[in-house]
Amino acid sequence: PQNSFTEDQKHALSILEVASKHLPKPMDSLKIRYNGPGGPAPTPDYYPATAPNCNTIEFFQRLSTETLFFIFYFLQGTKAQYYAAKALKTKSWRFHTMFMMWFQRHEEPKTITDDFEQGTYVYFDFERWMQRKKEGFTFEYKYLEDKDLN
């Protein structure tokens, strides 16, 4: 019976009642995601909420290159971005820190020196959202992102 509560308990309950109307949301404890989706919305039960084992590098390696690019550019500062970058590296993509784009050799470079390599490359243009080819491109090694991601 509610009337057995003390005044303090009744007061706490009324405050709690109001607080429960504006509960914390998951995004309250997360960094802001500028590109991310909005808050949670009710979805039917038959939509799976998460994929099993999706937090492993193996899972990311099975994703298409374009998916990895999407994760890399749209989920910045997350574990998923880290895994996407790792997976892209295993697929021989290299990140150019000035253009902020991923490059892959299209053929063996025509020239390789200590400071750069030159040849034909495929790169992912995040503005047009497509892969493009560039001939006679000079990849300066000082722009090569070569941090060990382990």
């Binding site: 309950l13 405050i15 109001v18 607080a19 429960s20 504006h22 509960l23 949301k25 309250d28 404890s29």
Partner: protein, 543 residues
């Protein structure tokens, strides 16, 4: 009373100073200007990684405005900034033109996150690099200020109070200060202590409007992981246990009611989830603190208590309780005492009662001690509140541990025959026979709380409960023992190992003549229930 200096003193003074409003003229405007500047700088692409460039420019501006001249001014700057961030959040939250909660939040976080980064940077860069005291003091001061502003806000706004800005400030600041940087790693125990103290200050009892955000903070994976992994000497465990106890205490009067209000149900569900995480990831923590937790959890919260009692050390392998002919006495663990991180001896009050108790245990006299026992445990005549539950719990565990020591001193191990005919068993039998239904229920619960993983307490109390059943002079006692065991077993899993062992022994061992009792057949569903338990643990089926 607040200690004068040191981190705690800084926090207290921060809380007090959150209520000072006699600011020097112009400070409000200066703070507003600086905060606005900082928010812009923080979001500018030129801010640099972790806002380093922006920060050095900003410190210069703070100096120009004379804010960094005295501690007093810095404190006021933080108080005003916190209030401004909170006020801004309120304006956004009540803005009817914004329909999407995502947009509302983005607007609030725009300022709150910038402010948090500023706090983190000021903490990191206060004093020189090796001066940890200054950094820790500043952190405690700021946390104290935010705490003070929160408490005051709740007091003034009442039901209009919003937890969002404070929740964001606390969690983001905690995450910022948990970054893998040597400056922060050097003070990581002090950071954790500061946050634990803050959360303790803001426990649901003190700040019910903050309770949901509070539980989010307490159960946040980074906070939980860091505080429970904190060495040395598992200081973090004690602090975390204190937070959980405050949560259980808050919930207890509400959970005692059969009809739960929706907001309580929500908080209860969250609490169960935290306990499940702890049971899975930190079972040793639940093992060590089970006594203190059971002391504050309402007696009718069976599942919540089962979660705590089911915890066992990860290096232990529990034999399946349904194994036929399982010889519990032969398990090597059964002689080892569990760790109890509660000073239950001192809970036996008043001192004169403890003196009489010790004297009775030693001399088995006078008999009047036993006849007065029931009165000593009673505190009121109101039904449901008659007994001092913590005292019953302490008495049961104390007498039990004394009995184990006594038996072991004689070179024996506790079993069905060595536990009998002693001052200890006199006390237990007296409590079983002489108590009313309520008192006996609490007494039997206190025993059942010790039926956990294989250890000397589990074994002793298992034998004790079975002995009390066998020697009962009325069927009411036997029915109540069965009830206490059964009600802990009919709830969903997990079930403590010792509880299953005891119950199986009771229905399996012919000596107890369990199946001959009236109450076993009192209702068809109860009878079916017993038979299903029996089927799963013994062969052949009982007649």
């Amino acid at each position: 009373r607040a200690p004068g200096s040191g981190p705690m003193g800084m926090m207290y003074s921060g809380i007090t100073q959150a209520r000072e409003f006699d600011d020097p003229p112009g400070l409000y405007e200066k703070t507003e200007y600086l905060l606005r500047e900082w928010v812009t700088m923080y979001h500018s692409p030129k801010a640099g990684k972790d806002s380093t460039n922006a920060f050095s420019l900003f410190v210069h501006q703070m100096n120009l405005q004379g804010i960094l001249k005295t501690d007093e001014l810095i404190t006021r700057f933080f108080r005003l900034s916190t209030e401004m961030c909170v006020d801004l959040s309120y304006r956004v939250l009540i803005d009817q033109t914004i329909k999407s909660p995502t947009v509302t939040r983005a607007k609030c976080f725009h300022t709150l996150d910038a402010y948090v980064r500023l706090i983190a940077l000021l903490v990191k860069h206060s004093g020189d690099n090796n001066n940890t005291v200054t950094k820790v003091n500043l952190l405690n001061k700021v946390l104290g200020i935010v705490t003070g502003v929160l408490l005051q806000d709740q007091e003034l706004r009442g039901v209009e109070f919003q937890q969002l800005p404070y929740h964001r400030i606390f969690i983001m600041l905690f995450l910022e200060l948990s970054a893998p940087e040597s400056v922060l790693e050097a003070i990581s125990p002090q950071i954790l202590t500061a946050f634990c103290n803050t959360l303790y200050y803001l426990r649901p009892q003190k700040a019910p409007g903050f309770a949901y955000a509070w539980l989010e903070l307490v159960s946040h994976r980074v906070f939980l992981g860091r505080v429970l992994a904190l060495s040395p000497a598992q200081k973090g465990w004690t602090m975390y246990a204190q937070l959980l106890v405050s949560l259980f205490k808050f919930l207890a009067p509400f959970l005692r009611n059969v009809e739960l209000a929706a907001p309580i149900q929500l908080l209860y569900k969250g609490t169960l989830r935290v306990l499940l995480v702890l049971l899975h990831d930190f079972p040793e923590f639940l093992c060590d603190y089970h006594y203190g937790f059971c002391d504050v959890i309402a007696p009718n919260c069976i599942q919540m208590r089962n979660l705590i009692l089911s915890a066992f050390p990860r290096n232990m392998r529990l034999p399946d309780p349904f194994t036929p002919n399982l010889k519990v006495d032969l398990l090597p663990e059964i002689t080892q005492a569990p760790r109890i991180l509660a000073n239950f001896n001192t809970l036996i009050q008043p001192a004169s009662f403890k003196k009489d108790l010790d004297s009775y245990i030693k001399t088995r006299s006078p008999v009047t001690f036993l006849s007065e026992l029931r009165t000593s445990l009673q505190v009121s005549s109101e039904p449901g509140m008659r007994y001092n539950i913590p005292l019953i719990n302490a008495l049961v565990l104390y007498v039990g541990t004394q009995a184990i020591a006594y038996i072991q001193n004689k070179g024996n191990t506790p079993n069905m025959s060595t536990i009998t005919h002693s001052s200890h068993m006199d006390i237990f039998q007296n409590l079983a026979v002489d108590s009313d239904t309520e008192g006996r229920y609490l007494f039997l619960n206190a025993i059942a709380n010790q039926l956990r993983y294989p250890n000397s307490h589990t074994h002793y109390f298992s034998c004790t409960l079975l002995y009390l059943f066998a020697e009962a002079n009325t069927e009411a006692i036997q029915e109540q023992i069965t009830r206490v065991l059964l009600e802990r077993l009919i709830v969903n899993r997990p079930h403590p190992w010792g509880l299953l062992i005891t119950f199986i022994e009771l229905i399996k061992n012919q000596n107890f003549k369990f199946w001959n009792h009236e109450f076993v057949r009192c209702a068809p569903e109860i009878e079916k229930l017993f038979e299903s338990v029996a089927r799963s643990c013994m062969h052949p089926k009982p007649s």
